[in-house]
């Protein structure tokens, strides 16, 4: 059975169907890309899985347990981590404190009023930062980091709870090409090592084709295609609504294939 099962998921905003009955699965150890034009319902789908939005219908099951109706923090406790399109970290905390915060929460120590937070789970937090290559910056304010680094810190935060499923909303948006590759290679490694399932949205086609095991395409709230990179690239409907002629990205893809 797949780790995440989505069946007939829908969401309407004041009569407008943003997501109109979609089904898909994500298996453990799989990187699944969710792509589609702006306004296709990608973020809405994402936010329903995460609990930030309540689905109008359908079901989202993690390991057979229903997630619809649960709050984000409850879904997190069941092993779903997430990163945001515009990275969300705690700006007034240091890098390591950001990760410690997630660890404090996962150990149920949020309401401790008298102990000192600075030392709590610091070593574990440093270990996680080491995994994403941010250990050297541990004691810098999170607000002072470059954007790509903030995204890596966010990943470390999301991993603090040892999640089964990771949701990443445009993980490489606003990053330099080398950073993109580093981050996605890191994610890929985590998927393999931890048998993690990852669902991500992305506009950068080079990233999608290079790293996704499988992809699904959303347009106007419906799933119009699903399959491997090759199948999606040659899918006429996807070309029409999403890729266009491919002029603006074809070359890098071709080059990568040559390189690979």
């Amino acid at each position: 059975m797949s780790l995440l099962q989505i069946r007939g998921l829908q969401k309407s905003f004041g009569g407008v169907k943003a997501v109109d009955g979609i089904d898909f699965d994500v298996a453990a150890g799989e990187l699944l890309a969710l792509i589609g034009p702006n306004g296709a319902g990608k973020s809405t789908t994402f936010n329903m899985v995460n609990g930030q939005l309540r689905a109008s219908g359908g079901s989202v099951k993690l390991d057979g347990r229903e997630l619809v109706g649960l709050k984000p923090r409850e879904i997190w406790k069941m092993g779903v981590g997430r990163t945001f399109q515009i990275a969300e970290t705690f700006a007034s905390l240091t890098v390591v404190e950001n990760v410690q915060m997630a660890l404090i929460s996962s150990h149920g120590k949020l309401y401790s009023l008298w102990s000192r937070a600075a030392g709590a789970y610091r070593n574990e937090a440093l270990e996680l930062l080491d995994q994403v290559g941010m250990k050297a910056d541990a004691d810098r304010p999170c607000s002072a980091l470059a954007y790509g680094d903030v995204k890596r810190v966010e990943l470390a935060i999301a991993l603090a709870n040892d999640p089964k499923l990771l949701l990443m909303d445009e993980p490489t948006a606003g990053m330099a090409p080398k950073e993109r590759n580093d981050l996605m290679a890191l994610t890929k490694r985590l998927v393999v090592e931890r048998k993690l399932a990852v669902l991500f949205t992305e506009h950068s086609m080079d990233v999608v084709f290079a790293y996704a095991d499988r992809m699904i395409v959303l347009a106007r709230g419906r799933l119009i295609a699903a399959g491997s990179g090759e199948e999606i690239r040659n899918h006429p409907k996807v070309q029409e609504v999403y890729f266009g002629t491919g002029k603006t990205f074809e070359k890098p893809v071709a080059q990568e294939e040559v390189a690979a």
């Binding site: 702006n38 954007y147 506009h203 999403y242 990205f249």
Partner: protein, 248 residues
């Protein structure tokens, strides 16, 4: 467009420095844009492209250097004065007035028609012309609220809104960032269409392929300094620059 003499320079930037708070972002940046040209300012995220645009527009308080628009110094002026002198700005994050309708968004950008120094009329835009250029906008009707449009449609509206000011030169910040490939392609078509109507454009871009589709020349920015300038063909040939500073 055919010019017997070399086209006159629209924008000249020399020794431009800018700061965000205490952080020094731009270091002695210099470049120029000639009339009728589409020039790409390239570089990765954080290289200083958006900062350059904001500095040109007068949106950063701490800045130094000379910026001349058709020979007139605009470096010390306020954003509204600079816009009134004929520099148009399309921001990266679109910044549509979501509570205003399409027609009202265009109205906000409206300025009087301009003439070139040789007294020939500069490109002049009306809502009608813009609706013809962007049929999507026309389809939605003038009373659609800006907030009820998709990202790609907003991108067209924000360009149209700036064109309503009849600028001599448009600064187009990251037109291809964060939109679907199919929209990116539309953006490329749009830029070429504008160019054919005599609009000069300075665009910031990370995506080499997009820039190659639309621009005549490029400057490459890295850590707040210009590291390369040349034609698109020269850039395509320069493996070193492409590998070190750009999205390939």
């Amino acid at each position: 467009m055919i010019h017997r003499e070399p086209p006159p320079t629209l924008l000249t930037v020399e020794g431009l420095n800018a700061w965000y708070g205490a952080a020094h972002i731009l270091f002695d940046v210099g470049f120029e844009v000639k009339r009728g040209e589409v020039v790409a300012l390239m570089g990765r995220n954080g290289a200083g492209k958006s900062t350059t645009f904001k500095t040109l527009m007068g949106l950063l308080e701490r800045r130094k250097g000379t910026v001349k628009l058709m020979g007139q110094d605009i470096s010390g002026r306020s954003p509204s004065q600079i816009a009134r002198m004929g520099l148009g700005f399309v921001p990266e994050d679109r910044r549509i007035f979501t509570d205003l309708t399409i027609a009202e968004n265009l109205e906000v950008g409206r300025q009087a028609a301009r003439r070139w120094p040789d007294d020939s009329p500069a490109p002049e835009w009306t809502p009608q012309k813009l609706y013809d250029l962007f049929p999507n906008l026309k389809e939605m009707g003038p009373d659609r609220l800006g907030g009820r449009m998709s990202g790609g449609e907003q991108q067209m509206l924000t360009v149209s809104r700036t064109l309503m000011g009849n600028p001599y030169l448009v600064l187009l910040d990251e037109p291809s960032e964060g939109v679907a490939p199919v929209i990116v392609e539309q953006m490329a078509h749009m830029i070429l269409a504008l160019k054919s109507q005599g609009v000069s454009i300075l665009l910031s871009e990370q995506n080499v392929h997009f820039a190659e589709l639309v621009s005549d020349r490029a400057y490459v920015l890295e850590k707040g300094q210009i590291r390369f300038s040349g034609t698109m063909a020269e850039l395509a040939a320069n493996e070193e620059v492409r590998r070190s500073y750009l999205t390939v």
